[in-house]
């Protein structure tokens, strides 16, 4: 493939959006109140919409007749390039919100820069997605504040959720070889810059929410190169079972 790096990078964006959308869609019909069921399902919808855009682009780069569904349904866990963070289980509302807040804050700064990517296709997807992502980031930050500064119970729960999910947060903020190559090509942003912005925003919101910033560096790595947690296999088994059971069918 001519553009192997660009393909891999696009897959990371698409897979991260897809797996998070898949996780969030598990909530549909089970939210704490109807309005928030709708809000969360709406975010799931946005994530899957973005996933389609990136996976369509990745499929075009790949050539060989692949499409978004070939990539979503006919790759195995070691070929997925999503962040470890987004494959973590939903847990309770606080766990889902902690994961979402940590991700949305990063995603906001990432997409703000991807809008200026030298790759026109990525830039145009990012421009379209930015409105959605700005909404997600506002929504999840508001919920962190509401839970942190709500009752004692909600305060303790959301603090625990943030502490628990923190170990998965570093991967998205640390550049590996591919990120560096993409940055040098003007396609991806400088993750060091995003890390600073992310730290500032996260600590600002946690402070308003009367919560403590966890210690530690979010040390777990692997998703971006296909080394996942045990959760991904189950996500894929569920997501992919129909197309794998009936490979000749179109839906």
């Amino acid at each position: 493939m001519e553009n192997a790096n660009l393909y891999d990078y696009t897959l990371r964006l698409g897979d991260t959006a897809l797996i998070l959308g898949q996780r969030l869609s598990e909530w549909c019909g089970h939210g704490p109140v109807l309005e928030q069921d709708i809000a969360l399902t709406n975010i799931a919808l946005d994530q899957i919409g973005q996933a389609r855009q990136f996976l369509q682009y990745a499929a075009e780069l790949k050539g060989d007749g692949a499409d978004e569904d070939t990539l979503a349904y006919h790759r195995d866990a070691h070929e997925f390039r999503n962040l470890l963070l987004v494959e973590q289980p939903n847990g309770h509302w606080g766990d889902t919100l902690a994961r979402q807040f940590i991700f949305d804050t990063y995603n906001y700064f990432l997409f703000e820069r991807l809008m200026k990517s030298k790759d026109e296709r990525i830039a145009s997807i990012a421009i379209k997605a930015m409105k959605e992502i700005a909404y997600h980031a506002q929504w999840s930050a508001e919920w962190i504040i509401r839970l942190g500064d709500g009752t004692q119970e909600s305060h303790d729960k959301i603090q625990q959720s943030i502490d628990d999910v923190w170990m998965w947060s570093g991967e998205m903020l640390e550049a590996d070889k591919l990120d560096v190559a993409m940055m040098e090509a003007g396609i991806a942003p400088d993750l060091n810059e995003i890390k600073e912005l992310w730290l500032t925003k996260v600590s600002e919101i946690l402070k308003i929410a009367t919560l403590e910033m966890p210690e530690g560096t979010g040390h777990q790595r692997g998703g971006k190169k296909g080394v996942h947690s045990e959760h991904l296999g189950y996500i894929l088994a569920e997501m992919q079972y129909l197309p794998k059971s009936y490979p000749d069918a179109t839906w």
Binding site: S25, E26, C28, G29, V33, I38, I48, R146, E238, Y246
Partner: protein, 317 residues
């Protein structure tokens, strides 16, 4: 001459003249109660109805179909909200209505007590269940209570779209591989009778219907709506090349309608009574979501109170 008429008679005359009743208008207490019961059951049906379909979101076989299903279930949550608001204009409280659902005091549509066991069920639900719901809802767009009628106008637009989406799923399956065709036929076999049960008991077994028709809450009888639905749906099944699981179904030249076989009323009343295949599961799911969300709702309330207090102090300072 008007002075000699009772409030009830004036109300009836107003309704007979095709006027809409609005929240602040006088209405017979039984009219209010009937509507609260009907609209809240309708709202509960939207909310419980999310469950059989959300069951397949994570397993939808293409990204496009996943997106469509997710959007559809989200619409249903929105319909639930419209309807709870409409019921609240009659003085009902959403919290009480939801409690009634959770304790089993309030009902929801019997159809959602059937399991979704294959992807084809997403097609059958859209095509048949939403189709039956639309027949009912189009009638309700002309119901005499204004807020209900306006909610139905909004809901019907989205609902018709859902039905087309469901039929599209069926069409893809019916034109697909032999396994897909079998899947579609199996879904039709399982959803056909429950769908035509959605119109409720036979007219002669539906004692409240006459009063509802007189008040123009209902505009057509159960059996009329059921017949219309069957007449419309049989050709759609033929177009798909699928067979409706009713050996007695045949066109009647004289009446200009399809004759059809006897509904299993024992099954219907069992499901209504809570003894369908998924009644317990559906209610447990709703109750569990509600209970698991309690600390979240409490946190939101506590935060809102703190914010209000802070604003008050800010203004005072």
């Amino acid at each position: 001459m008007g002075e000699s008429h009772s409030l009830e008679e004036r109300f009836q005359a107003y309704v007979d003249a095709e006027n809409k009743i609005e929240p602040k208008d006088w209405m017979p207490e039984r009219y209010r109660k009937t509507l609260i019961r009907q609209i809240s059951q309708h709202a509960h049906s939207e909310v419980v109805g999310m469950l059989p379909e959300s069951n397949w979101i994570t397993r939808a076989p293409s990204l496009r179909s996943k997106l469509i299903l997710l959007a559809k279930v989200q619409d249903e949550a929105g319909h639930g909200l419209y309807l709870y608001s409409a019921a609240e204009t009659l003085g009902a409280d959403r919290k009480d209505m939801i409690d009634d659902l959770h304790t089993g005091k309030a009902k929801y549509s019997s159809i959602f007590n059937y399991p979704t066991i294959s992807w084809a069920d997403m097609g059958a639900i859209g095509w048949l269940v939403d189709g039956a719901a639309i027949a009912n809802q189009v009638m309700l767009c002309r119901t005499s209570y204004g807020p209900y009628s306006r909610a139905m106008v909004r809901i019907c637009k989205e609902e018709s779209f859902h039905q087309r989406q469901g039929y599209e799923i069926m069409m893809r399956l019916a034109k697909g591989t032999p396994e897909q065709i079998a899947m579609a036929q199996d879904a039709l076999n399982r959803w056909w009778w429950p769908s035509i049960m959605m119109f409720g008991p036979r007219d002669e077994d539906s004692p409240n219907s006459a009063q509802s028709m007189k008040w123009k809450i209902k505009r057509k009888s159960n059996d009329e709506l059921r017949q219309e639905f069957i007449d419309k749906t049989v050709p759609q099944a033929e177009f798909l090349g699928l067979t409706i699981p009713d050996p007695d179904l045949k066109w009647n030249e004289e009446t200009g309608h399809y004759d059809f076989g006897e509904i299993n009323w024992d099954e219907f009343y069992q499901v209504i009574k809570g003894n369908g295949p998924c009644n317990k599961q559906r209610l447990d799911d709703r109750r569990n979501a509600h209970e698991a969300g309690e600390w979240v709702r409490e946190a939101a309330n506590a935060y809102a109170e703190k914010e209000a207090q802070r604003r008050k102090e800010g203004n005072a300072a």
